[in-house]
């Protein structure tokens, strides 16, 4: 296994679950960071309850959970800069565009779908 994998594939990690009650969010982020570390073109998508992963003012430690949300800051280090959030999912959940990470792009359903379609491989969590 080499750090130099030749590929021009684009990878989408699609998050659809809330952060704390299942391992899905953390395992999605683990995968994203590994793809990034192998210099694969990787984008993160958040829709449905997945948007609860990116909103600000959460406090995982208060419920005795190691705050994996802090690990999102490592995305930048691996040049994962495409972070897309579904506007409709935010609105349905009465959430404002207050995020704990930078570079978030809030997209309409149509734009979100088009960006998703533009990736070669999509992993949904």
């Amino acid at each position: 296994m080499s750090e130099q994998i030749q590929t021009d594939k684009t990878i989408a990690i699609l998050n659809t679950q809330a952060p704390f009650s299942s391992a899905a969010g953390k395992e999605a982020l683990d995968a994203a960071l590994i793809f990034g570390s192998f210099e694969q073109a990787t984008s993160l998508f958040f829709m449905a309850d997945g948007v609860f992963q990116v909103i600000g003012d959460q406090n995982a430690e208060s419920i005795e959970l190691k705050d994996y949300l802090k690990t999102f800051s490592a995305l930048e280090f691996y040049d994962i800069e495409n972070i897309y959030v579904c506007a409709q999912s935010l609105t349905e959940r009465n959430l404002t565009a207050n995020f704990h990470l930078d570079n978030v792009q809030v997209l309409s359903n149509e734009e979100f779908s088009q960006h998703l379609h533009a990736h070669n491989v999509i992993y949904r969590f």
């Binding site: 659809t16 679950q17 809330a18 609860f52 600000g56 406090n59």
Partner: protein, 98 residues
Amino acid sequence: MAMLHIIRSSGFTSNALTQCLNMTLPEDTILLMDDGCYNLNHPMMLEAQFKQQELAVYYISLHASARAQSSNQSSFSAIDLDDVLGLIFKHDNAITWS
């Protein structure tokens, strides 16, 4: 018999909230716990409370704040796990909607 409904999942992802609200009777109590706190602002929760004013609704304060969730419904009461034990014994039975 008065029933305690413990909701532990988001009504935006799972059908459990709908199932629960289909089963509540006026003397029942709803407790939002864990991801159930995401329902604090769910339209169905607000509608249920509006339709059945007697329905008591509680939520675990710590579980809501950890998730950056809050309620502006004065009739929804923030409680802790000690209070949950009181609710368990005050009611005749309980269903957990995970």
